[in-house]
Amino acid sequence: MDENRFDEVIRDLPRDFNTPPEPPFDEMWGVIEDAHFNSPASAGRPAGMNSRAPWLAAAAALVIGVGIGRYVPLGKNARPDGTSAIAVASTQPLAPGADTSAIADAYRDQTSRYLGQAAALLISLPPQDVSGRGDAAFAEKAADLLVTTRLLMDSPAAQDPKLRSLLEDLELVLVQIARLRGERNKGDLDLIHQAVEQGDVLSRLNSAVVTNQSSE
């Protein structure tokens, strides 16, 4: 086989190697839905996405699909040691002649990442009538996000009134989730869901993700 023929073989591989049949989308979804969303065990899983309000689910899909799906990886300003760029930027004075656009990029990267994580946490929050399993994971994640929330509130990112208002509401919600440790008060999750719904938090998160991406 000569070079040209081999190039043809490579070019035709998509047609000639393991060409996929039409996937049984609905059947596969049925299995996924049964295994994850409808099983009794799923109630205790930290991924119970069976929201009580249809609009909440639609907003969630938008956040995850439109927002996170197109969300860029950590940018050039990511710190290799894992230190939060916000933590660094908000605690260190700006040096004369510093590259402010790089700092702005760092804030945008960090804000995008934070918004995605907050959305994932809120979407995954189970309804109120479940066992306490998984609470510790939620609480731990919320506590981490709470630190970032407060750093962002003290950063130039919070100069945007809409984002600041969203951060303030998220702070309240995250404080409540962070308290979900040990013996759960039956009404706690209900209150959290109410706070999310009344504050329109998920749809505002969606807007913030889109706005933040469009400025990148």
Binding site: M1, F17, P23, F25, I32, E33, A35, M49, G69
Partner: protein
């Protein structure tokens, strides 16, 4: 439901990759289901430092790779003739060549095979492959180059 929206967005590409890697419709279906179930279960652990699709595809590749290792370990690997039902039509390549290609791809190491399938067959970029496999882009490029070289060598003796 948000889960269904996510599924609709990604299922086609996930299934296609699972099928290319496994060569079996039933396995591809199981791998796809397994990947989504795992992804939904781990959503709270999603750190947001990569695109959701990258994270999901990483789970798929891991699921398929683990299954293949398990099959090889226990000697239950299905014979190529059974695994790859090849429909031959007039405009397609010679069945002997297709069989040779299938064997040559199967003979590649797991890393080379996965990279070749993702890049040359499924059209992923090196940046995407690097993100999914957790390797530098340069590694993806060198693996592809090595995979093609080995493929070329294996097919060198083929006469049409």
């Amino acid at each position: 439901m948000a889960g269904r929206e996510l599924y609709d967005m990604h299922a086609s590409r996930v299934y296609s990759l699972a099928y290319r890697l496994s060569g079996d419709a039933e396995k591809a279906r199981e791998f796809t289901q397994d990947a989504f179930i795992r992804a939904f279960s781990r959503l709270p652990q999603f750190r947001g430092d990569a695109a959701f699709s990258t994270w999901l595809h990483r789970i798929v590749v891991t699921v398929v790779s683990n299954a293949r290792r398990s099959e090889i370990r226990f000697g239950r690997e299905v014979a190529l003739d059974e695994a790859h039902s090849i429909e031959v039509t007039a405009h397609q390549a010679d069945p002997d060549l297709k069989e040779c290609i299938a064997r040559a791809v199967e003979n590649l190491s797991e890393a080379y095979r996965t990279t070749l399938i993702m890049h040359d067959i499924e059209g992923y970029t090196h940046a995407e492959i690097a993100g999914i496999l957790g390797v530098p882009e340069g590694t993806s490029k060198s693996r592809l180059s090595a995979a093609r070289a080995q493929l070329r060598e294996d097919l060198a003796a083929f006469k049409e």
